[in-house]
């Protein structure tokens, strides 16, 4: 019998959603993925946007993409990444929009109601950004987090210019990058 895992599974936070959704961009052969989170408590809005320059989808596929029983994969019959983020946004009373143009790229916008108790926490964004930077060496990833106090931008291109291929990075560099992200997000008082 396999040992069972403790049951705290699921898409528990925004960071995990981002880790998941950027894999879609990577599979669509994107070279640039722009992620942004904009917090605006005054307008009761917490906006997540992910935009890539991948191969995009036909309108027909866009319509089906949020159906949990649709997937472009052949290894399994369900595709839950998009329906889960849609559900998580809509259950705060927010909205979700997916738009795409074949050959140009795809854009996803999820708006969470800022003060709603079901709005997901940010989660370990520093882990996710470092993992994506290490795991997707061909993709340029930018992450911009904006609050009323300011904006922080993490850009893998800038990091790679300094240290070379992040895939070859060591423990010390990864630890540094995580700390840098945490401290900068703290500086603009990003919601955790």
């Amino acid at each position: 019998m396999p040992r069972r895992k403790e049951n705290d599974n699921g898409m528990k936070n925004i960071a995990l959603h981002i880790l998941d959704l950027v894999q879609n961009s990577a599979r669509a052969e994107a070279r640039l993925v722009k992620i942004s989170i904009t917090e605006d408590a005054g307008k009761d809005s917490y906006l997540l946007s992910i935009e890539d320059d991948g191969k995009g989808m036909e309108e027909e596929v866009v319509q089906k993409a949020t159906d949990p029983f649709y997937t472009s994969r052949t290894t399994r019959k369900v595709g839950l990444g998009l329906p889960l983020i849609q559900q998580n946004a809509e259950r705060t009373g927010g909205s979700f929009k997916l738009s795409s143009e074949s050959g140009k790229g795809t854009k996803l916008v999820a708006n969470f109601i800022f003060h709603h108790p079901d709005r997901l926490p940010l989660g370990e964004m520093e882990d996710v950004l470092v993992l994506l930077a290490v795991g997707l060496p061909l993709v340029r990833l930018t992450y911009t987090h904006t609050t009323p106090l300011g904006s922080y931008c993490f850009d893998t291109e800038v990091i790679r210019e300094i240290i070379g291929d992040i895939q070859d990075s060591n423990l010390e560099v990864r630890k540094f990058l995580r700390e840098m992200i945490v401290e900068n997000l703290k500086e603009i008082k990003a919601e955790v």
Partner: protein, 131 residues
Amino acid sequence: MNKIKSLDDLRQLREGMQAKIKLRESGNNSENIVRIKVAMSTCGIASGAKEIMNFLMDELEQKAIEAVVSQTGCMGYCYAEPTIEVTVPGREPIVFGDVDKFRAAEIIEKYIIHNELVDGILPVNYRSIDN
């Protein structure tokens, strides 16, 4: 208050490590690298693949095992996530399922270092021995 870490600090860190990085680069061309792919799809992520990937990278480095840990998509074993595929030079790739930190440590210690099989192997690349 402490100054927050900036890209300049990263440059300094990099200067200090120049020598070490060179050493790694020269060793990287060989075939003698352990390769691990972590299934990083919705099912894997929801089951904790992020923690496993972090753990594997850090642990392998601490044990000074030359390894590349990368991400892959869903291999179709959603029931057994997190799953990882481990390729040790000279051996067939093996896929392990239900990998938590305990099992990941066991895979490194027993399978990678001492070539002992451990629990949780998924029969994806099973071959009969009659030929």
